[in-house]
Subunit: 423 residues, 2 copies
C-alpha cells in the first residue's frame, strides 16, 4: 500500500435504522487513521461510485458524523443498482476501478447484504487481477437478518424491537375492542426469511398476549390451516392477533397468492407480495366471520429511530469501526461478523468472514426456532433475539417536539473520469 491513500464508503440496498451508525463508526475510524488521506462518501451507493458522485466526509462537522448514530435510513444515499457477474457487468466493474484509481482510493467499505458482499468481492478480485492495491471490506447490514457467518445483522435488533412493540401496542388495541374489531393482522417485512415476524414473539409474555399466531416464510402456509388456527384462538381468547411475514409460502415453496387463497384472481389480482395481510383478512372474514383489520408497517419498521435498540446501534457502530481497523491492519476481502459468546450472559465480539462465503450464503430461521404447528416461535428463538433488543437508543428531539436528524453538507469532489451512463 502507498503511505497514504484515500478511502470510500458506500451504503447499499434497503436502509435500516442503524446503517448510519455503521457508517459513522467507519468514518470516525478513517478520520483518525494517519494512513487515510480522504474518506469519501459515495452518493447513492455503488451508483455514486459509477457516476463519480463522491463527497469528502472530512469536510462534514464532527457533530454531523456523530449525529448519524441517531439518524435512520441511509444518509450517504443508497440504491438498488445490481451488478451481475464479471462477464455480464464487466464495464461496471472496470468503471469502478477507474474511479478508484482516479481518486487514489485504496480502501472500499461497503455496508450491505449478500448482493453487496458479492459486488465487493468481485471488485476486489478484479483489482487483484489488474495489480491495483485495494482493500475491500464489508459491513453487514440487513433488517432481514439473513446473512450467513454472523450471529445476527446490525439493523435486525432495532426492527425486532420495533415490530415486537408494535405487536404489543396494536395487540392491546385489539384486546380493548375485541367485541367489535375481533381480529387484527400485522404485516411485517421478510420476503424469504421470517426473522422479523419471529421477533414479535417477544411481545407475548402471557398466553393471552398478542401475537397469538405468527406466520413465517419458513413454515409451509395454507389457508385451511389459517382458518383452523384462527377459530381455535378465537374460541380460547375471544380475539385473534396475527403477525404475517410478507413472503408466506405454501408447502411447495411457492408464494401464496390470491389464487391459492381461493379468493379468486378477479378481486385480488394485485394481492401478491406485500398484499399478504389483505388476503388473510379476506379469507378470515369469509371463513371465520369475524371482523378483521390489518396494519402494514412498511418502511416505518426499518426507520423507527425513535425506538431503536441501543444494543443494535452500538454493535452497528462497532462493525463499521472494525471494518476500517481491520483494513488498516492488512485484512482484505472480508466482512465483519458478530460472534455471540456461549453461555447465558450475552456477550458479543467481532470476527471476519470471506466476502465470497457471505455472498453465497443465506440464513433462514432454523426449524428449532419455529413451533411444530408452524404458527409460532419457540423459547430458543426468544432467547436468541431478546439480547438484541435491549436498551433504548437516545433520540435527539428538536424544539418542535420531533426527532432531530442530520443531513450532510455534501461537498462533491471534482470529477476526473468521463461521464457514465448506467445501463
Amino acid at each position: 500500500m502507498p503511505h497514504t491513500y484515500n478511502a470510500v464508503i458506500a451504503q447499499s440496498g434497503g436502509p435500516t435504522t442503524v446503517i448510519n451508525a455503521s457508517a459513522a463508526g467507519a468514518i470516525q475510524a478513517a478520520l483518525r487513521a494517519r494512513e487515510i488521506g480522504t474518506i469519501f462518501g459515495a452518493t447513492n451507493g455503488v451508483l455514486g461510485i459509477l457516476q463519480e458522485e463522491l463527497f469528502d466526509l472530512g469536510r462534514e462537522t464532527p457533530e454531523t458524523i456523530e449525529a448519524m448514530k441517531r439518524t435512520p435510513a441511509a444518509a450517504i444515499g443508497s440504491c438498488r443498482y445490481k451488478l451481475k457477474n464479471l462477464a455480464e457487468s464487466r464495464i461496471d466493474y472496470e468503471r469502478i476501478l477507474d474511479v478508484f484509481k482516479a481518486h487514489d482510493i485504496r480502501a472500499f467499505f461497503y455496508a450491505g447484504g449478500n448482493d453487496s458482499m458479492d459486488t465487493a468481492d468481485k471488485i476486489n478480485k478484479l483489482a487483484a487481477d489488474s495489480k491495483y492495491e485495494l482493500s475491500c471490506m464489508g459491513i453487514p447490514k440487513s433488517i432481514d437478518n439473513d446473512l450467513a457467518y454472523t450471529d445476527h445483522c446490525p439493523g435486525y435488533g432495532s426492527v425486532a424491537k420495533y415490530v415486537a412493540t408494535a405487536a404489543m401496542n396494536a395487540g392491546r388495541d385489539t384486546e380493548a375492542l375485541y367485541t367489535s374489531d375481533t381480529c387484527s393482522i400485522l404485516e411485517v417485512m421478510g420476503r424469504n426469511a421470517g426473522w422479523i415476524a419471529a421477533a414479535t414473539g417477544l411481545a407475548r409474555r402471557e398466553p393471552q398476549d398478542a401475537p397469538h399466531l405468527i406466520y413465517m416464510p419458513e413454515a409451509a402456509f395454507s389457508f385451511e390451516k389459517l382458518v383452523t388456527d384462527v377459530k381455535a384462538v378465537h374460541a380460547e381468547f375471544g380475539r385473534v392477533f396475527i403477525v404475517a411475514g410478507e413472503g408466506l409460502k405454501d408447502d411447495k415453496g411457492q408464494y401464496v397468492t390470491a389464487e391459492t387463497s381461493g379468493i379468486g384472481i378477479d378481486s385480488f389480482g394485485h394481492a401478491q407480495l406485500g398484499g399478504v395481510a389483505e388476503m388473510l383478512k379476506a379469507v378470515i372474514e369469509r371463513e371465520v366471520g369475524i371482523k378483521t383489520r390489518f396494519n402494514k408497517l412498511g418502511t416505518n419498521q426499518r426507520s423507527a429511530m425513535h425506538y431503536a435498540s441501543l444494543t443494535d446501534v452500538n454493535e452497528a457502530t462497532l462493525c463499521g469501526k472494525t471494518a476500517v481497523e481491520k483494513a488498516l491492519s492488512g485484512e482484505n476481502g472480508k466482512m465483519v461478523t458478530l460472534v455471540r459468546a456461549p453461555g447465558k450472559r450475552y456477550q458479543c465480539s467481532t470476527a471476519l468472514a470471506a466476502l465470497s462465503d457471505v455472498a453465497n450464503g443465506e440464513k433462514c430461521l432454523p426449524p428449532q426456532y419455529i413451533t411444530p404447528e408452524g404458527n409460532g416461535v419457540t423459547q430458543a428463538m426468544l432467547d436468541y433475539v431478546r439480547p438484541l433488543v435491549q436498551g433504548e437508543a437516545p433520540v435527539a428531539v428538536g424544539p418542535d417536539g420531533l426527532p432531530q436528524y442530520m443531513r450532510f453538507g455534501r461537498k462533491h469532489v471534482t470529477k476526473k473520469c468521463s461521464e457514465f451512463n448506467p445501463n
Copy 2:
C-alpha cells in the same frame, strides 16, 4: 345526592394512546373523594353496563392505576355498541338506569367521542325524567380531534406526534433510496376529518423534507390533480412522499373509490375506505411511471405509547380528574373541554360544554389550515398542533427490553339484575 354513592367509568369507541391516562385521572380523583363509595369500571364500555359486568377499581393496586398513564388502548375495555335515540333504544337506556340503581351508581364518567356524549346525554335525561339523581360527565377522547367545543381532544397530540415522526422516518427512507423506490405513501386515519394527516406537516422543516403532499378529506381530491402534483414534486426533488387520510373525498363530497380513480372496479373492487393508499399507488405507477410503495399504520398510530406526547398524557389525565371534581361540585350533563389561552405561549386550562352541544357538533379542519392548492397545510395549522406534541411520555421498559403495560385484576361484582342480551 345521597351522602355517599357509587360511580362508574366507561371507555368507548376506538382506543387512543391516552384514554387510560384520562381514566386514571378520574379513578384517582374518585378514590380520593369521600362522597364516592366505590368506583366501578364497566368492562367493554356501555356493553359492560348493559351486561352488568362491573369491577371494583378500588381493589386494584395504586401502582396499577398509576401505570394506566403509561399503557395504551382501553384497559377497562371498550366497544362500538351504538345506542340510538330514546324511542328506538329505550330498552337499552332503561336497562342502564336499572343497573345504576341496583348498584347505587349516581355518577357516570364516560370517555369517548360525539356518539358517547350523545349516549351520556340521553341517559342523563332519562334519569332526570325518572327522578333518579345521577351525574353524567363526559371526558373527551378522539384521535380524530373532531369534537366541537374543545380546542383539541386528548389522544390527538400523541397520534400527531407519532404520524409526524413516522412521516419523518419513512421520508428519510425514501430520500435514501429514491433512485429505486421513488414515491412513498403513508396512509393515516381520519375518515371525515383530516387533523391526523395535517399533523404530519410538522415533519417538513425544509421544503425537501417529507411529506411533500398531504391529502385531507376536507380538500376536494381528484386523481388528475394527484398526477399533476406528483409530477411537479418529482421534477423538483427527485422523490415524492405523500400522506393520505383514509377518507379522501371528491368535489361532490363522495369518497373516492376505485371507480372514480379510473382503475376499474375489477381489480380494485375492494379498495374503498382503508384502501386509499393502494388506489393512489396504482394511479401513480400507471400515470407517472415511478415505483411507489405504501405504509398503512392502522391501529399502531393510536396505540404508540412508546412515543406519546407528554403534553397529551398530562392533559388527558387532567380531563379525567376534572370530570370527577366537577361532578362532585354539582355539575351534570357536561363534557370537560380544553381551552387554549390566547397568545404565543401555550397555556391550556379546562372548561365545560353541554353534552348535547358536543353530541351534535363535528369539528373539521378549517379552510385556513389547508393550503389553497388543497395538498398541504398552512403555518396556522402548524402553530395549532406544535404545542400538542411537546414532550415525550415516559415508557416503562421491562427486563426484556419491551414496554411494560398494566392489566387489571378485574374482580367483577356480583350481578343483581336479570340477564341481558344485547340486540
